[in-house]
């Protein structure tokens, strides 16, 4: 029997019962469609997180005081509690080969009041001019903190766009005076928006010179964080290694029990992709269950069809159809059903993922691999769930089949 003839037979058989074929296909469409949509949402989310973290600087090492406890992860590291990072550490880090910039930071939350009396509670970061290069921030208006401000302990502030909006609405804040913790600061610049990075919104911050922060606002002599930018990505492990060694020597602590931690962007991305991957697998496996149900629908329909067409099978065998011909014919019906379901399902999944990204604002991405996987899975389901009915049909005795009422 030729392939064209098998397809013709399949077409006749499926089109003669359009409603039943359509409903069976619908089962597969929903299954494949939800797998495509779910995987695209998961992959989109992980892509978005990855790019927003890379937007913060992909050559970044973050040194935190205290220890990240194994198993507790980065999020719950309890940073800020320890006071082990000092200003002297900056010089040590600057001496390491491969380090481009070192940006020491002190973070606190303060009440900020504008001249008009509007106020907000935001993160205030004491920073040096290096912050601009290390964290990829750009002043949209005015300028960032300069070296002279550091030396003179200047009472100047640079506002993140969210804070600027909250305090001054649409008027230009530059050269105005704000009060941070009841001390007057002159606004010298406003930053460009960077967007939220998930746990931390860099737009909702105010920057003041590091010295001003340590001596006047907070009255401390330690640092919350030291961000180190590395000359290029390949040097990251090497710099992380030397920074660890140098700080261990400087702090005179046991290497088994350090009083600081160094986290690279790769570590953060790794942890977060692990989370989104788990999320994607979870979504896809729920969708996979509906695909399985669709497959069972195919099998159910094929078994009904085989029973209904028993006499036809008997006739076909009587006029010379071999076992292989009969089983191929029924297998082809199942595979064509799932294949059609697969094509429509990919389209449906694509539409759902577009709708989700435009309506709910969640980034989605339909990858070629998930489309290919969907086709592969749907064809496999056709063969898997069509095999038993096809074998049942081909194994019929023509005499009994012809007598079947």
């Amino acid at each position: 029997m030729k392939l064209a003839d098998i397809l013709q037979e399949t077409y006749t058989a499926l089109s003669s019962n359009k409603v039943r074929s359509g409903l069976t296909i619908l089962g597969i469409v929903i299954g494949i469609g939800s797998v495509i949509a779910m995987v695209s949402i998961g992959q989109g989310a992980s892509g978005q997180i990855q790019s927003s973290i890379e937007g913060l600087g992909s050559n970044l090492l973050t040194i935190l005081p205290g220890v990240i406890q194994p198993g507790r992860g980065i999020v719950s590291s309890g940073r800020g509690a320890a006071q082990t990072l000092k200003n002297e550490d900056i010089d040590v880090l600057q001496g390491i080969e491969g380090v481009a910039y070192v940006s020491p930071e002190v973070q606190r939350r303060f009440q900020i009041v504008s001249p008009a009396g509007t106020n907000t509670n935001s993160t205030v970061i004491g920073a040096t001019p290096e912050y601009e290069a290390v964290r990829n921030v750009v002043a949209a208006n005015g300028s960032f903190i300069a070296e002279s401000h550091i030396r003179s302990m200047g009472r100047v502030a640079v506002l993140g766009p969210t804070v600027a909006q909250d305090l001054f609405a649409d008027s230009d804040p530059v050269a105005k005076t704000i009060r941070i913790n009841k001390i007057n600061f002159k606004v010298i610049g406003v930053l460009q928006s960077k967007g939220s990075a998930g746990f931390f919104n860099p737009d909702d911050t105010v920057f003041v010179p590091l010295t001003t922060m340590q001596k006047i606002l907070a009255g401390v002599d330690f640092l919350s964080t030291i961000a180190v930018s590395v000359e290029n990505k390949d040097l990251m492990p090497q710099v992380q290694e030397s920074a660890t060694t140098a700080l261990l020597v400087k702090h005179r602590v046991d290497p088994q029990n350090p009083d600081f931690s160094i986290v690279s962007q790769a570590d953060i991305i790794g942890t977060l992709t692990q989370v989104t991957d788990t999320f994607t697998i979870f979504l896809a496996s729920i969708a996979g269950i509906s695909l399985l149900v669709g497959g069972i629908g195919i099998m159910n329909m094929m078994l009904t069809t085989v029973t209904e067409r028993t006499r036809e099978i008997g006739l076909r065998k009587a006029i010379g159809a071999k076992k292989k011909d009969i089983s191929l014919q029924f297998l082809a019906e199942a595979v064509v059903l799932t294949f059609l379901g697969g094509v429509l399902g990919v389209l449906l999944g694509w539409i759902i993922s577009l709708a989700v990204s435009s309506l709910a604002g969640i980034a989605t991405s339909v990858s070629v691999s998930s489309v290919l996987l969907a086709f592969g899975v749907s064809a496999a389901i056709g063969i898997l769930f069509g095999y038993y009915p096809a074998r049942k049909a081909s194994g019929m005795n023509p005499i009994d089949a012809l007598r079947y009422e």
């Binding site: 029997m1 006739l315 065998k317 006029i319 076992k323």
Partner: protein, 236 residues
């Protein structure tokens, strides 16, 4: 030419053995028109299944065109049915949602004949079965019983078989339509020299053949030429 030598068929259901056919021996020459006659339960259906290579005998030899086919596998039997046997059934057994032409072409599809010659052969067979050309593209479930049976006859002829096997071909038809079908068989026999085996339980139908094999309780009780053969042309 087909030849049966001591053919027996025994069915075993649990411990009980049923002898459907006991030591049947006969010979049918090419070009003969033979009726196999007997009441229901006589074993004529079993005999037909063996003659039509749908089943194999428990013992004995069945020579089809000089080859012993009694020990062949299912697929080998299917091959013989495809090439050498044409079936006509009581219930017609046409594909309901396919056109007449496609029904007739069906055996050729399994034989792997390509599209063009397949269509030619099918049209040729329809003409031989005296099926009117105006209905060739009708769906088979739109036809009358007599028309359906002629489509079935055309389908049986399309592979140019050695043997045409008709199982109660007039059983579902009224007398007059039945006569038309019997006429078709007689013409096929007379004009084209086909070998035809007609299975029936009616004496009247059997008398349209040249020779009648009577079977009862699994044994052949009589095998003789028909003395006053009925010719349809005179009856119509």
């Amino acid at each position: 030419m087909i030849e049966c030598q001591n053919i027996a068929k025994t069915y075993k259901i649990g411990e009980i053995e049923t002898h459907a056919l006991k030591n049947a021996s006969f010979k049918i020459n090419d070009g003969e028109f033979v009726a196999i006659m007997g009441p229901s339960g006589s074993g004529k259906s079993t005999l037909m299944h063996i003659l039509g290579c749908l089943d194999t005998p428990t013992s004995g030899q069945y020579l089809f065109d000089g080859h012993d086919v009694s020990k062949l596998s299912d697929d080998e039997l299917a091959d013989i049915r495809m090439k050498k046997i044409g079936f006509v059934f009581q219930a017609f057994n046409l594909l309901p949602r396919a056109a007449v032409l496609r029904n007739v072409m069906l055996p050729l599809i399994y034989a792997g004949v390509s599209k063009k010659p397949r269509e030619e052969q099918a049209k040729d067979a329809l003409r031989k079965a005296a099926f009117p050309e105006g209905f060739w593209n009708h769906y088979s479930n739109q036809l009358s019983g007599g028309m359906m049976q002629r489509v079935a006859i055309a389908r049986a002829l399309v592979n140019n078989p050695t043997l045409v096997l008709a199982d109660e071909p007039t059983g579902n038809l009224d007398t007059k339509t039945g006569l038309v079908v019997l006429n078709t068989f007689q013409e096929l026999h007379l004009e084209q020299g086909r070998t035809i085996i007609l299975i029936t339980h009616e004496q009247y139908v059997a008398e349209h053949a040249e020779r009648i094999i009577h079977i009862r309780d699994g044994s052949i009780i009589n095998d003789s030429q028909v003395k006053n053969r009925r010719v349809v042309n005179g009856e119509l």
